[in-house]
């Protein structure tokens, strides 16, 4: 196993032959649709009530028929996972890490196919879909390596006559609840962190993208993770809630909306009869991310940076920008250029290489976002279509600070521009918000950059670039305040959330002698 981590290379989609290979993989996938996604509980392949995931770019296409788990299935899966916990936690870390690395290899060998699946099931444009596969591979490799580092324990102060040691042990059966927007990467990341540290996992993926989650689980099983140690439970929030409430669960790893996250925190922290431990919740939640544009910013960089941050993947990234706080000195010029640039964005199917803004995930999201768009008069608006869950990319300007477009996470292709008197003024506006996930700053003043870096509450600050696209090992990701409970996914501290430390002190003095 290699020990220096390197990010998985992205597909070089700017080359025609690579694009052709991607399209061939898509055609091959299309011929196999719809896929079947049963529950995987221990060694059992379990069927249940069927629900479909559809192609957001063409909702008549069923991508997968999945089988919804009920509370009873959750119960069975946790029972199997308790057996799995016994087996998996006793495997040497090296063996567990090797299994994860093998799983990464399997994903690597299915590179194009899995990107095609994310294109279809999540409506991710190719470059984003490919990034999702690469990030899934990165998480597997990165956590495998980090687990080996953690296994060595930490040095402690030693005294004559005593031997002190500390090592990390798995916390216990872990429930993973995943979102649809990084259907491969986030599921793979949360699952592999738990597995790498010796925990059995019950995965409840988002109902919009069960087939992507199954691809991850299949790879891990094929790589040698025992079936008991990793269960797959497709379905909506019903199995999610049952998972959180079960007293046998030790850790809950959740990524999704703040509403669901707060509900999970509350349930998890309510003791139920039979429960003998405090559950730990790792929650990565929403954001309301702002980009500050200083008077000395290079607008040639700002315009593409804002477009990419706000409208890439139709704004459906937790890191996406939805506010731009623009210094008065450049506000008029930037507003005009942005409005002009908005109309160059092509709204279209995720599978088209020429698409800039794909559809949103489902009809509920479409209606929710349209509700926001209809609540004020846009400054500029792009195209839309009616053959999928499309929403027109939309710019607002000059809304009052308490407007819901400025305060709430929209999770769609909507950007509002606000004029500020200074960078400090912008920092105050950011500081007043409840979320603190990502943020951006365009400035060419080293002191301003330093000041904002110190002052910002956000978990990830990006300077003079887009604010999306965190890379494993390079931009450890996660926010504070209502955006999350803090650990940085893809960073060196993440695995600590999945273990407990055991300190052992041995008296080495016998008959007055140090032995």
């Amino acid at each position: 196993m290699n020990t220096t981590f390197r990010n998985e290379p992205l597909l070089e989609l700017r080359r025609g032959p690579v694009r052709n290979e991607a399209l061939q993989a898509l055609a091959a996938l299309d011929a196999r649709l719809p896929l079947e996604v049963p529950m995987l509980i221990g060694d059992d392949v379990v069927t249940g009530q069927v629900f479909a995931s559809v192609d957001p770019s063409n909702p008549t296409t069923v991508v997968a028929n999945a089988h919804a788990a009920t509370a009873a299935h959750v119960h069975d899966a946790i029972t199997a996972a308790e057996r799995g916990q016994q087996v998996w936690s006793k495997r040497p870390t090296t063996e567990r890490a090797a299994a994860l690395s093998r799983a990464a290899g399997i994903l690597r060998s299915r590179r194009f196919e899995l990107a095609a699946l994310a294109v279809r099931e999540a409506g991710k444009p190719w470059a984003e879909a490919d990034g999702d596969v690469a990030e899934a591979i990165d998480f597997l490799e990165y956590y495998a390596q980090n687990a080996l580092v953690l296994d060595a324990g930490r040095p402690l102060v030693q005294m004559p006559g005593e031997r002190n040691s500390m090592r990390y042990v798995p916390r216990g059966v872990t429930g993973v609840i995943a979102p649809w927007n990084f259907p491969l990467a986030i599921a793979a990341g949360m699952v592999s962190a738990a597995l790498a540290t010796g925990n059995a996992v019950v995965l409840k993926p988002a109902e919009q993208a069960p087939a992507c989650a199954k691809a991850v689980v299949d790879a891990l099983h094929a790589a040698g993770v025992p079936h008991d140690a990793l269960a797959l439970l497709p379905g909506g929030d019903e199995p999610g809630k049952a998972l959180v409430a079960d007293p046998r669960i030790h850790t809950i790893v959740f990524t999704g909306s703040v509403a669901a996250g707060l509900n999970i925190l509350q349930t998890a922290h309510t003791m139920v009869p039979g429960q003998r431990h405090v559950k730990k919740v790792i929650a990565e939640m929403g954001g309301k991310n702002a980009i500050i544009v200083d008077s000395d910013a290079d607008l040639d960089d700002v315009v593409p940076g804002l477009l990419k941050s706000a409208f890439g993947f139709a704004g459906q990234k937790c890191s996406a920008a939805s506010r731009a706080l623009i210094h008065r000195a450049v506000a008029d010029e930037l507003t005009e250029r942005l409005a002009g640039a908005l109309s160059t964005l092509r709204v279209g199917p995720a599978a088209d290489f020429g698409t800039d803004v794909p559809p949103v995930i489902d009809i509920a999201a479409q209606q929710r976002i349209e509700g926001y768009i209809d609540s004020a008069a846009p400054l500029a608006q792009g195209d839309t279509r009616d053959d999928g869950f499309y929403v027109p990319p939309t710019l607002f300007a000059g809304l009052p600070t308490d407007h819901k477009i400025i305060q709430e996470e929209i999770f769609g292709p909507v950007l509002s521009l606000e004029t500020v008197d200074s960078v400090e003024h912008a920092c105050e506006l950011v500081d007043a918000g409840g979320f603190a996930l990502t943020g951006g700053l365009f400035s060419r003043s080293p002191r301003t950059i330093e000041h904002v870096s110190e002052r910002t509450p956000v978990g990830n600050l990006y300077i003079n670039r887009e604010i999306t696209g965190a890379m494993v090992g390079r931009q450890p990701f996660g926010g504070g305040r209502l955006s999350g409970t803090g650990p940085k996914a893809g960073g060196p501290d993440y695995l600590l959330q999945f273990v407990e430390a055991r300190a052992v002190t041995e008296n080495t003095v016998r008959h007055g002698l140090v032995v």
Partner: protein
Amino acid sequence: MAPNARIPGMAAPTQERPLDLERPIREIGTDLAARMPRPRAVSTARVERRMTELLMKDPALRAALFRFVDVRPACSSPADVTRHLHEFLVDAESKTARRATGITGRPLAQRPIAVAAAAGVKRMAQQFIIGEDARDALPEITKLWRNGVETTVDLLGEATVSETEADTYMRRCEETLRALASAATKPGQVNLSVKVSALTPLLRPTAPERGIEGARPRLERLLRVAKEVGAHLHVDMESFDTREAITALTLDLLSKPEFADGPSAGIVLQAYLVDSPEHLDELLHWAQSTPRTHPFVIRLVKGAYWDHEVVQAAQMGWAPPVFTDRHECDRNFEALTKRLIDATPTVKVAIASHNLRSISHAAAYADARGVGNEDLEFQILRGLGDDTQAAIAATGRQVRAYCPVGDLVAGMAYLVRRLLENTANDSFLAAAASGTDTAELLEAP
């Protein structure tokens, strides 16, 4: 051992060289070098040389200066200029930079320093940029014409992010073509270099067809205007992300029957690209099968986006599309030079370089093949290659200066790129400036 000292009867070297170019290269190069103004004799050149040396030795100061030049046009007041300069210098860790901080940190010195720094950037810019617009630039251009130097004008601009901005750029191009035409004294004098990325906001690396369709109507219109006024239109090459779109669009438009008898037009081949030999195959194949009244011009350059290509590839995990060994790039430049000269008169060749070796090699090979000014010219960048231009012109070879036109804001990206190039440790100009002797500069790569 000299070739004629070979022991009789011994096998000849495995690769028989049909032409020994090294001797004529040395002769041509030495002659050109002798015709360049002696740096020591010119005081501004000496200051500049000292500056270049200093910057090469002190990467932190170099970074500080470039960041200052970059932000200068966005500074609203002298205080703002001073603040940025001061911050960059504080940032730079070198001793030189720290000394300078002492000066700018004093409030009393603020205004003069800011004014001087602002003026410095402006002066520097004026060395590379010949005017704010075509009319402003005309005196300088006609002066070059009178001295037997041809020109190509490049309109600097901000990045094009909207259709309106693309239209504005197209109109500027059109106005420039007409303004130059009205001042021209002989046919073929008007020559404009255009960037496809300025003609459309739709260039997408993964969807070349979008950029092609976006730029098509505007480039087509410029070709018509160029034909009307008898101008040459040259399509510049940009980052690798856009090469496919730029090439396909240019060749496609020039294949239209209406452009077969004009205007004169051309494209650029970047020798730093690993697959440039295949790109040349494509260009030559097209040129051979598309008869034109004015032969298709291919400008050979090394390539201006080397850092960008290498950084982008590293961040994405790709093999870089460019050579990473200087010598490989230079050898490829020479191999492509030969193929291009061999392809005359189907194509016309422009060798665009400030590198004495690259230039001398092209001249020597052209001489050996009997290819003259009809089919071959040399091109230099205004401000960087002025001495080279004078020397080439003095030897009776055709030379053309690439003359950027635009305001300070628009010109800054161009200026920064040129400055970086000029002071990069492995650049020819930096080596020449630091006093490397001519024989060494002329060695085979």
